[in-house]
Amino acid sequence: MTAPALDPATLKTLSSQELMRLEGEIARRFSGIVPWGSVTWGLCNLVVWLSLWPLVLFGHLTLWAAFPIATLNVMLSYLPSHEAQHDIIGRPGEPLRWLNELVGHVSTLPLVLPYRMLKLTHLEHHKHTNHSELDPDIHTRAPSAWAFLVSSLRNRQPGGQAQTSYAATLQRLGTPQASLAMLEALGLQLTYLAVLFACALTGHALEAALIWWLPRHIAATYIGFYLSWAPHHPALETGRYRDTRGFRSLVGNIGSMGMQFHVIHHLHPRIPLMKTPAAFYALRPVLEARNCPIEGL
């Protein structure tokens, strides 16, 4: 369909099916692209974070310089895996499938979150966004940004919802893949703790704290805020056009890791992250016709 059809008055005359067809046609222009930027980002980010360990332990870099770099690394470690979770880099059977799985598995290691668990629970989040019992990320729902920060800290304590909601989702799924994801999560968590204990026993507790433990907590808060709380706030409605919002971030689009346009991701999950701003502006009249929450953009 051509540009004149995007006139708001014309869009109002279209049926829901016609609107859906138009939306799909526009979205397809931004899909099916290999996100090489995200691939490079995911792999380079991991290499930089891993390199901090020998650089600090052998005295080539001060711990105080390594700490902000490590924090940035862990904050940046989720999104490349997120592209892989949606098979954007390579679908099953495609030549780049191996790269999709490689990026998915390795990029979130600093976050101590295994790819298989993230993928299964994230797809459930898409299926049941904002559902009080079925959305694995619903624990990020909070009436204000401050309330989110408080509950984020509380939820990450032993037995908190951030610890239990993904396990509960995997148990509910009950598939062999879900069982394998649980085992992977357990193995990764035990490895992480073994590394922290080993560092502490050998007199490197501060190094472990400032390269991994504290950056991981800061990153978990940041990622929870921008990838879950902000785009779904107030997280009270369900439905394709009401469960996610477009919003203006105080720290801009890069500072919020592209989440201002997260509504596009929920409508068309195979559009790469870096294409979502362009897709948003192309689709905006359709989103408005659908009464999507768009605030400040």
Binding site: L196, A200, G203, A205, A208, A209
Partner: protein
């Protein structure tokens, strides 16, 4: 499997004495307020880490 479950159940306590305590000890030593050879920073770390760990295990509902 029972051992893993036991380990995970008591992990907050193990984390408290195995990581938080040495972290407090090494942080205090780094600040230079601990006289050389004195164990009080490690004792303080074990008290804080251990008691936090016990509290966390006690507060965590059994899975």
């Amino acid at each position: 499997m029972k051992f893993i479950a036991f380990l995970m159940r008591n992990m907050p306590f193990l984390f408290g004495i195995g990581f938080i305590a040495p972290l407090i000890d090494q942080t205090i030593k780094q600040l230079g307020v601990n006289p050389a050879g004195s164990p009080w920073s490690l004792v303080l770390g074990l008290m804080i880490g251990g008691s936090w760990g016990v509290y966390a295990v006690w507060k965590t509902p059994a899975q």
